[in-house]
């Protein structure tokens, strides 16, 4: 019988395939025991799963190294090391042979015990490691239960004649960012999770990898069994279980049409980013590591609108040195050539991105806490090291610096002062940099949006960070799926703030960009263009689609729409207005 589940759209596109349920994630675990006669075979199965896990980790590590993601690779190297640990693997094996646990129970129980020991040590770094232990335990457990899963999937496939190809739809409680980054497009078509929101790191990675995904579906996701035929409609946030023949045919047609659309977008790879009435804007990419820059250029980005530098600081024991940072920033600048804009955002640690290295205290409300520029201003040496590295990179391209989480003019002035000191230090040392490097701020706190007129007098540019701006304006945690209707940038309250920020920047002759998820949303593009946004920074995979759409839009005409959406009751009305005024958009959302 067919069932349709509604979740939050996380990554658009249609995926059709057979469900592979990550059972160890989704089902609450109870210890199961085996017969004594089975112990030896169970232990052998366990050993095989451990060595397969080691192979998997090695493959992930190799791929990350090839992509230039050395720090991410090190996480998995540590995981491989844990797989050799007697305390984890040896103890789990003993639970099988001595206590007759089945393999899955043995590894999960042992991982839990070990994680509790590490979690009890008063050290934020070790708390992080306990998550690694659990992750390694789950990997082995998944392989142990995955044998059945693969069989079930194959049976179902044979029954259906394999009409949908053999890529799986992953069904999980949640996927960690590293799990999402490790997804293989040749075996996985898309995924659906019970928790998570559209701006979680997993969703962002899914979009950049082109995996259709729906998140935040809730408990009903547990109804899906291994091997069931599943359709993920990432754009609408729908998951169809065992669809009837008509629905399947319709979605298969839509999937091939999307393939055709994609080819149409690709044709815009090298064209100028220009509206139908000749207004040129910048379509640039958000990246999280220097290795992503090349990919972004290949996908048509004209530059980088947001380089998230915090990833340089994560998953390591020591702070990155000035030289190390300089190399990373220069690599990005050089990937694009001298004129392309490269906006480097100083580190945004805190919030959902912990940095064990800084030994930050746990907070009740990390998103309202000690994060980003608040840490940087508090630790000037740390901040100036980064500023010097950015300045040095400015000798190699059109590099701009951007400060995150600015709430007040005072914070901006303090940051600017430290930048001036960094320039002074470089001058004295005779190290080259661009003395007139543009310096701007993110507008992601409503306080900054309200003060945009004053801030605009002093900065060189704004970039609107809609993910946080929406979260702070609507007072809705973006990770909480129950609040996803509040986490919508089309709420007129948010649109009014955005409009105000753009107008304030232009009144002072400054440019304004957007680097939140909204910038890549086809429904939002007409509104933002009408408001006069100058730069749109999005996941690299969305750039050609945005350019295709832009070429069909007339800014002159959209100015009325941009005013009209400010004067409605709610987000649904604003979206309805866009769809009525710009019917082209309905082809792609």
């Amino acid at each position: 019988m067919s069932t349709t589940l509604q979740g939050t759209p996380a990554s658009s596109g249609i995926a059709i395939g057979y469900a592979k349920v990550l059972r160890t994630n989704i089902e609450p675990h109870v210890v199961s025991k085996i017969e004594p006669a089975m112990a030896e075979a169970e232990a052998a199965k366990f050993d095989a799963a451990v060595s397969t896990a080691a192979e998997e980790l090695d493959a992930i590590r190799t791929k990350l190294l090839e992509d230039g993601k050395a720090h991410e690779a090190e996480i998995f190297e540590a995981h491989a090391f844990l797989l050799e640990d007697e305390e984890l693997v040896g103890a789990a094996r003993e639970k099988i042979t001595a206590e007759l646990y089945d393999g899955v129970s043995a590894i999960l129980e042992t991982a839990k015990e070990v994680a509790e020991v590490l979690g009890a040590v008063d050290d934020p770094y070790l708390r992080e490691r306990s998550a690694d232990v659990l992750d390694v335990g789950r990997r082995v457990a998944r392989l142990l239960s995955g044998e059945e899963a693969a069989d079930a999937g194959q049976d179902a496939m044979a029954g259906a004649g394999g009409a949908t190809g053999n890529r799986a739809i992953l069904i999980a409680e949640d996927l960690t960012p590293s799990e999402t980054a490790g997804l293989n497009a040749s075996t996985v078509a898309g995924f659906a999770t019970a928790v998570g929101g559209a701006t979680s790191h997993s969703a962002i990675i899914a979009r950049s990898g082109g995996f259709p995904a729906v998140v935040g579906i809730g408990e009903s996701l547990r109804d899906i069994r291994n091997g069931q035929l599943v359709i993920v409609d990432g754009g609408a946030g729908l998951v169809l279980i065992e669809p009837d023949a008509a629905a399947l045919a319709e979605y298969e047609a839509r999937r091939s049409a999307e393939g055709g659309k994609q080819a149409e977008y690709e044709a815009f790879l090298d064209r100028p980013s220009m509206s139908a009435d000749g207004v040129q804007v910048e379509l640039v990419a958000n990246i999280g590591s220097s290795a992503d820059a090349k990919q972004a250029k290949l996908k048509g980005a004209e530059g980088i609108g947001l380089f998230r530098t915090e990833f340089l600081f994560m998953g390591r024991d020591t702070l990155p040195t000035e030289d190390e940072q300089y190399e990373a920033y220069r690599t990005v600048a050089e990937a694009f050539g001298a004129d392309a804009p490269i906006v480097i955002r100083t580190m945004d640690i805190g919030g959902d991105k912990e940095l064990p290295l800084l030994e930050l205290e746990k907070e009740d409300n990390p998103f309202l806490g000690y994060r980003a520029i608040r840490i940087s201003l508090d630790r000037p040496e740390l901040f100036k090291t980064q500023l010097r590295a950015i300045l040095r990179a400015s000798a190699h391209g059109n590099v701009k610096a951007m400060f995150p989480m600015i709430a007040t003019l005072r914070e901006w002035r303090m940051a600017k002062q430290l930048l001036e000191e960094a320039k002074q230090e470089l001058s004295e040392a005779g190290i080259p940099f661009n003395p007139s490097m543009e310096t701007g701020i993110m507008i992601e706190i409503p306080a900054a949006a309200m003060m945009a007129d004053r801030l605009a007098r002093e900065v060189d540019f704004f970039s609107i960070g809609t993910n946080d701006l929406v979260q702070y304006t609507m007072a809705a945690d973006r990770m909480n799926p129950k609040l996803s209707s509040l986490s919508d940038p089309f709420h007129p309250a948010v649109l009014r703030l955005i409009d105000r920020v753009i107008a304030a920047a232009h009144a002072e002759g400054k440019w304004v960009g957007m680097c939140g998820e909204m910038a890549g949303n086809p429904l939002a593009l007409p509104v933002l263009l009408g408001m006069g946004l100058d730069e749109f920074s999005m996941s690299a995979g969305s750039v050609t689609r945005a350019r295709w759409l832009l070429a069909r839009l007339d800014r002159e005409r959209l100015q009325n729409l941009a005013r009209a959406v400010l004067d409605v009751d709610d987000a649904a009305d604003a979206k309805a207005l866009v769809l009525r005024e710009v019917p082209e958009v309905s082809e792609i959302v």
Binding site: A78, F81, D85, E86, L118, V121, L126, D317, T318, L357
Partner: protein, 86 residues
């Protein structure tokens, strides 16, 4: 036999140094133990070494017995007194 070392690494004994300790200890056939504040931990398990929670300035006693004990104690001690983790 045993020797006592002071942890010099400003970030304590974290992933990389802990791994080096385990690698050094595993080259020895017998038990290699780390002692801190009266508790003993096997130096052959990453989990155990991490759970020592050793911070800069802590005194750690390394214990091993038998042939080659001094060499393995010194090898583990060398990691404990390292200033940098890499």
């Amino acid at each position: 036999m045993q020797k006592t070392f002071t942890v010099e690494n400003p970030t304590g004994i974290h992933a990389r140094p802990a791994r080096k300790i385990v690698e050094a200890a595993k080259s020895f056939d017998g038990d290699v133990l780390l002692e801190k504040g009266g508790s003993r931990f096997s130096a052959k398990s990453l989990v155990k070494v991490l759970s020592v929670g050793a911070k800069q300035g802590d005194s750690i006693t390394v214990v091993a017995e038998g042939e080659g004990a001094e060499a393995v104690i010194d090898a583990v001690g060398a990691v404990l007194v390292l200033q940098e983790s890499h």
